[in-house]
């Protein structure tokens, strides 16, 4: 039942991403709100439902985006995997883990999107992509990482109270 909160929250995140965040551009890049939320959620120690969240997030984004759905599925599942692996290893520095997951997740997703679109025949120049899309998006994702991590930590404490957890 606790996983049900993923539907309104991720739905809101996808709507905000499509209607607001995608308009706040730095060069040609913008932040990826669902990616950061997913990374922050997967880094919470009490959360065991990050994989479900990744699947729900992919389903919602596939409905809106023209990006091929395997790109979304593989990228978001990889982000959850990296986040859970890091959470077990550097649990004493959650912000460092958050920055690491956001950084690697953004780079992985952008690189994977670039390769897939090139394979599908879209004309993309690597220099343009790195300079105008990847680096600005990376910067914006890192800026959004801290406030979203705080929000998701509070949400995890609310969804999984400590007494019940122990």
């Amino acid at each position: 039942m606790r996983n049900l909160i993923a539907f309104p929250l991720l739905g809101l995140a996808v709507i905000l991403q499509s209607s607001v965040v995608s308009q706040i551009k730095l060069l040609s890049g913008y932040a990826d709100l669902p990616l950061i939320m997913l990374a922050a959620w997967a880094l919470q120690e009490r959360v065991k439902s990050a994989w479900h969240w990744a699947v729900i997030c992919c389903a919602m984004l596939s409905f809106v985006s023209a990006l091929p759905w395997p790109v979304l599925v593989i990228s978001y599942l990889a982000i959850v995997f990296v986040a859970q692996a890091l959470q077990k290893r550097i649990w004493q520095a959650p912000l460092l883990a958050m920055f690491s997951v956001t950084f690697t997740g953004t780079l992985f997703m952008q690189l994977f999107s670039f390769i897939t679109l090139r394979v599908l025949g879209t004309s993309l120049k690597f220099g343009d992509v790195v300079g105008s899309v990847t680096l600005p998006s990376l910067l914006l994702n890192m800026l959004f990482a801290i406030p979203i991590y705080s929000f998701m930590r509070d949400l995890a404490q609310w969804v999984y109270p400590l007494e019940e957890h122990e």
Partner: protein, 278 residues
């Protein structure tokens, strides 16, 4: 006559004399002086009383003034909200009026107006989402325009929404016609949102500012829809074709309402393209 009667007589005479003098107007100046003194005294007493009254009732007035001020501030913010709403309505009405003008000046097409409600979440792709879908007879491949020029074409449709691929998308390719040079070319999008012209023949002279229209070749778009203007031309002798950068006619950052041309159906020419035999 005793002394008491004498006193009474004198008093009566004095009072009668004073009355006679007063009735005769001989006390006018003295009366005015007396009035002035009375008025001065009354004014002084009255002003002191008002001062005391204000001193004791002032706190109550401040409270009522604060309440009134809060009411007025609430009213001002409400009016400001109304002003912003009206400005938005005015802006929307202006856009709609321009679109209606455009539609009436191109009666050969039938249009469906739609609002832009979102953009693609991926920065690699340039797509918009509009609030009209198959319930409004929108179909895949239909061209999307504004009164300024070509926006793109419908890429995917659901019941009440559709996704439109912009001409700035890196996967977009539009066959176009350079009006002044009288030659065909190909308008390509890019990940940065710039539009470039490719496949311009080397023996054609293209000027900055030349108008670019859709050619209608390939059956993907109707002919003669403005795309933009040539900004700069790049000619290299060792290349087969010239290239040009384009200033699009449409401001893609401010798209809010678009028109879908519903009576145009794209032609599928793939079966007509000759296949190379192995």
């Amino acid at each position: 006559m005793n002394s008491r009667s004498l006193q009474t007589t004198i008093v009566i005479l004095v009072v009668g004399g004073i009355l006679a003098l007063a009735l005769g107007g001989y006390f006018g100046s003295a009366s005015r002086q007396f009035d002035l003194v009375l008025i001065e005294v009354q004014t002084w007493i009255s002003s002191r009383f008002l001062g005391f009254q204000e001193f004791f009732t002032a706190p109550r007035d401040i409270v009522s003034l604060r309440n009134r001020n809060a009411e007025l501030e609430a009213q001002v913010s409400q009016l400001q909200t109304q002003v912003i709403e009206l400005q938005q309505l005015t802006s929307k009405t202006e856009i709609l009026a321009a679109l209606v003008d455009f539609a009436s000046s191109n009666p050969e097409n039938t249009y469906k107006a739609a609002s832009v409600i979102g953009r693609d979440p991926s920065p690699f792709l340039h797509y918009i989402i509009i609030n009209r879908g198959s319930n409004s007879d929108i179909r895949r491949g239909m061209p999307v325009v504004t009164n300024q020029g070509l926006v793109g074409r419908v890429d995917a449709v659901i019941a009440d929404a559709a996704r439109v691929q912009l001409i700035t998308d890196p996967a977009s390719s539009v066959n176009c016609f350079l009006q002044n040079a009288g030659t065909n070319a190909n308008a390509l999008g890019s990940v940065t949102g710039d539009v470039t012209l490719d496949m311009i023949s080397q023996d054609v002279t293209v000027q900055s500012g030349d108008l670019i229209l859709t050619s209608g070749l390939g059956g993907g778009y109707p002919a003669d829809i403005p795309i933009g203007q040539v900004v700069t031309l790049r000619t290299l002798e060792f290349e087969l074709f010239q290239q040009a950068t384009v200033q699009p006619a449409v401001d893609f950052a401010r798209l809010s309402i678009v028109l879908v041309i519903t009576n145009f159906h794209p032609v599928e020419i793939a079966p007509l393209v000759p296949q190379t035999s192995p």
